[in-house]
Symmetry: D2
Subunit: 159 residues, 4 copies
């Protein structure tokens, strides 16, 4: 199954612009290194595999809560980016870059439901509302056996 | 100025026990590598310096929101650990380890107030209430110029 | 369509016990006066109609945010009650009363997505996880045209 | 001790404008009927006494969680109003009314720390940050013996 980037070259090109910037210096996002497998502009879907430096509890080999919140925040932000992209599709690149560059998380709630056990994890996010000033998203984290590990809600400022 | 570990050998010894475990394999906490400068058992105080892999926005060189939430979660957890330690001071080591090993974040709210600009950052946390089942903490993140960058509230399950 | 109370006499009887207590003195719940139309034990569903004393903004005649949070908190609590009832079904009444009497909201997040316009409103809630100490629920408020007005997440202590 | 309305006639006059509107039809705010004893523009301070229709738990005569969240939301909104008033002081009345009329709660977190026992309760709120789009506040609820019953954090959209 393809993802949204395969079917939308304009989105692919806009994201490439930011990826090129990102590749110049590694950052926290480079450390986490999520794989974007979003199926369409309605659902952000980010995947990652377990790694030692993602572990919180060494004995149970479960994901660190901080890593979970970072991933869910990123997924919510990706959903907001998709929501904005729908509004600016077809506009000049400069306007697109300006609009999506200023998004920022205003606040975030994470609920840790079950221990983060597993090999591969999938964070999904959907926009509940996107206005002129703020957007609100709901996020979920599942492992490869579809166990719901954590959920989140985020409020994002729109640039 | 000394910190709480210099003045309380029993706390130092209990923490060493967990640090020794932690040193065996690097985890997400090893990656973040916070410096504990808590002044007493009423305030957890964790410090860290800016690093490339903590950066969210490459252009403004500001902290990643996910890193901020991870740090504030850790600070809240440390405050709960101190609150529990007050209750189990003087008890046998096995009981102490059992009590503090089972703490887990239930939920977390982070409010991103201002861009995470700065060189050195300080996360502080205080317990608002510690009961038999859950504890609630409030956290704050300041930079070296005492600018309030983010606040948080956490609910933690008590082991 | 019937609701869960029609199909489960044991639940009906347990709820009647609390309703009888409640009828002795009016409280905040009497003021709000929600109609319980929960279809089964997996979904709490509470309904109410617009009233002057539910209004927040007089000009737009929209629900008060405080009323919305009170309703969503109540819906989350009802979902936790159902979740507990599943576990204690068939046990002696005294044990049932003891178990469900001690539930209490630990914390609550409410997201106000759209103005609370409408005639009749429906709050729904589902349990995301119910453990021995805490339960977590997600709640939604819709109007009669199925517009999503607010969502919430609640953490509840289990008695 | 006087309050901020005694010392600032411009604020008094602006608030009277809204109070006159409010007196035309009773709303949820009329039901709750908080007394504003804010000492200055930096701290919103709202008081109320216990009443039967504020009760959640009839046996312990404690405040309903929904009432608590409604009061803390109102206190946070009042703090945002004060923060905005500082910015628009001296401007024409029409501009002032326009600016403060559009505030709305975006999201709210309430932490219920201790049972709401007492005779008289005080909700206080302070602005953590007020920007062009959103403001963030922290709120607290104490009883007459200064017991901390609940805390909250709110994000508000600025008109």
């Amino acid at each position: 199954m393809g993802n949204v980037y395969d079917t939308d070259p304009e989105l692919r090109s806009l994201v490439n612009y930011f990826d090129d910037l990102a590749n110049q210096t590694p950052t926290f996002d480079s450390f986490i290194d999520l794989k974007d497998e979003s199926p369409d502009l309605d659902t952000a879907c980010l995947k990652f595999e377990i790694r030692d430096d993602f572990i919180g509890n060494r004995i149970y080999r479960t994901l660190h809560g901080g890593l979970i919140s970072a991933v869910l925040d990123t997924a919510g932000g990706a959903a907001v980016f998709f929501g904005l992209f729908k509004k600016i599709k077809g506009k000049p690149r400069e306007i697109q870059i300006k609009r999506v560059s200023k998004n920022a998380t205003v606040d975030l709630r994470i609920d840790y439901l079950r221990p983060g056990k597993g090999k591969e994890f999938t964070a999904t996010a959907k926009v509940l509302r996107i206005g002129n000033k703020v957007a609100v998203t709901r996020m979920e984290l599942h492992n490869e056996e579809d166990v719901l590990i954590a959920v989140g809600t985020g409020t994002y400022a729109i640039g």
